[in-house]
């Protein structure tokens, strides 16, 4: 499963947490979750849990700290999936 597919899955997770005035189309690989997508920082823990469920991985606190942008999340997901193998 490639990075593009991961991005589709991740967008699907993120869209639930977007404020009403931020369109799904605003989600790009460079988007910062809190600063650009205006996602409530409290909801980042929910995104982490959804990512864990969707990809069958476990994210630690330090992973969450590093997860500022969508690309950060994709990198962490790819790394965790490699570690799993």
């Amino acid at each position: 499963m490639g990075n593009d597919q991961h991005l589709v899955q991740l967008k699907d997770i993120i869209k639930t947490y977007l404020p009403e005035d931020v369109p799904v189309g605003a989600i790009g690989e460079d988007s910062n979750f809190v600063k650009e997508l205006n996602i409530n920082s409290a909801n980042l823990v929910d995104i982490v849990l959804d990512v864990e469920d969707a990809f069958g991985i476990r994210l630690e606190n330090e992973d969450m700290d590093k997860m500022q942008t969508v690309r950060d999340a994709l990198n962490i997901i790819a790394q965790k999936l490699r570690d799993k193998k």
Binding site: T16, E20, A42, N43, D46, L49
Partner: protein, 425 residues
């Protein structure tokens, strides 16, 4: 000079009606919201009947965003947000702009315990060494002030936003607290109300105290029998009621409709002294509370023409009537009309005061008094004090003037509020 306070909006989420129109229809026609709950039977409850608002999933989407609905497992928040939002809209008020709260509008929305189902879900995760899986919303759904916090965010209120808690006196207490805030000029509008979760984890403790009726599981609608000789305990309920209180100046400026004026009120405690205890009211305190409310409202004992009692359908009902009678020094045909909302909705616990205030206030709009249920066999001690004609069995035409509403709660706490037909002057 105190500001005058009026009621400009109502909202309700009751076992026998969700929304003002449904609730009014049920109250008018004596439609009960008490039904048998298989869940309670499966759990071996003695009392397997209860009052619980029926909320279709699709209706929740009108009040909550998809994100708010995700993992929402707090029935009190659902009832409270629906009633509170409805009251705001009924008053013709809008939600605050995105970037600026309404500094002159506040919220006092009470509860007993909030989000007990969410709490249970969380406890299971924690005991399973899985606290990290709680997600972000277990705190906000289980903190008592969760209900005022949800409403505060939805409506954008920038004045005091808080939650009061005084057991079954909560809802009536909140009306008086909101009135005082507006009266003193600290707010123009206060959304007041209260909510109570539903379900076995709320009702179980009362079942264990053996104060719920266990002989009506086959005919639930007859179980809640306030003032009846055959009353055998209160039927557990749940839901929410809400009112928008507003300074008369603000209401007139907006051209808002006015249900009634809040003339005054009082709360006190019997201190669990004398005959008062954790679970039983001190009659001396109850009578003082009623008299202090009248004094605060500037109303004579003789002027009260309608009472909405606490009247839970236990052996204490006769004592409550005696307290009203002694406090007001009125008996027989001179006693005010009195009704008990609990006959149709059960005892909605922390929500009871607000649900019943909404019922009492609808009587002004319609010029009538809702009938009492299940008390054709009036308690003989009540009949010694009050003429049966003052306890209407069916909804009766009568335009209320002064309505006194009281609620009493565990902890020996009392609240009494006085409403008046609004007259321009």
């Amino acid at each position: 000079m105190n500001k005058r306070v009026v009621v400009t909006g109502l909202g309700i989420c009751a076992p026998n009606g969700v929304g003002l129109a449904d609730f009014y229809d049920s109250m008018l026609n004596g439609k009960s919201g008490i039904i048998f709950h298989q869940e309670l039977a499966d759990l071996g409850f003695g009392c397997q009947i209860a009052g619980k608002p029926e909320i279709p999933e699709s209706l929740k989407e009108s009040y909550f965003t998809a994100l708010q609905l995700r993992g929402l497992n707090s029935s009190g928040i659902v009832y409270g947000v629906m009633a509170g939002t409805d009251a705001w809209m009924d008053a013709g008020l809008a939600k605050a702009d995105k970037d600026q709260p309404d500094w002159d509008s506040g919220i006092i929305f009470g509860t007993g315990i909030l989000g007990i189902d969410k709490l249970r879900e969380s406890i299971y995760l924690i005991d399973d060494n899985n606290a990290r899986r709680l997600g972000s919303n277990s705190v906000m759904q289980t903190m008592a002030s969760g209900i005022s916090a949800y409403l505060g965010g939805i409506l954008g209120c920038g004045n005091q936003v808080t939650t009061n808690s005084s057991a079954c006196a909560t809802g009536t207490e909140g009306v008086i607290m909101g009135m005082e805030r507006i009266r003193s000029g600290k707010a123009e509008r206060m959304l007041v109300g209260s909510c109570n979760d539903s379900g076995p984890y709320i009702w179980g403790g009362f079942d264990a105290m053996r104060i719920l009726p266990s002989n009506y599981n086959d005919n639930p609608q007859e179980a809640s029998r306030p003032m009846s000789a055959s009353a055998s305990g209160f039927v557990p309920g749940s839901g929410a009621g809400a009112m928008v209180l507003e300074s008369l100046d603000s209401a007139l400026k907006r051209g808002s409709k006015i249900y009634a004026e809040v003339l005054g009120g009082a709360f006190n405690s019997g201190g669990q002294r004398g005959v008062g205890s954790m679970t039983a009211p001190n009659s001396q305190a109850v009578q003082r509370c009623i008299l202090e409310a009248l004094k605060d409202a500037g109303v004579e004992k003789s002027e009260v023409d309608v009472i909405n009692g606490h009247l839970t359908a236990t052996s204490k009902d006769a004592e409550e009537i005696r307290n009203w009678s002694e406090a007001l020094e009125r008996t027989a045909k001179d006693f005010p009309f009195i009704n008990a909302t609990k006959g149709l909705v059960g005892h909605c616990l922390a929500a009871s005061g607000s649900v019943e205030c909404v019922a009492a206030l609808l009587q002004y709009r319609e010029g009538l008094i809702f009938g009492n249920q299940n008390c054709q066999d009036l308690h003989p001690e009540i009949l010694e004090l009050v003429d049966a004609s003052r306890i209407p069995m069916k909804t009766t035409s009568h335009k209320p003037k002064i309505v006194a509403k009281a609620s009493f709660g565990f902890g020996d706490v009392n609240a009494c509020v006085i409403f008046n037909d609004y007259k321009e002057m």
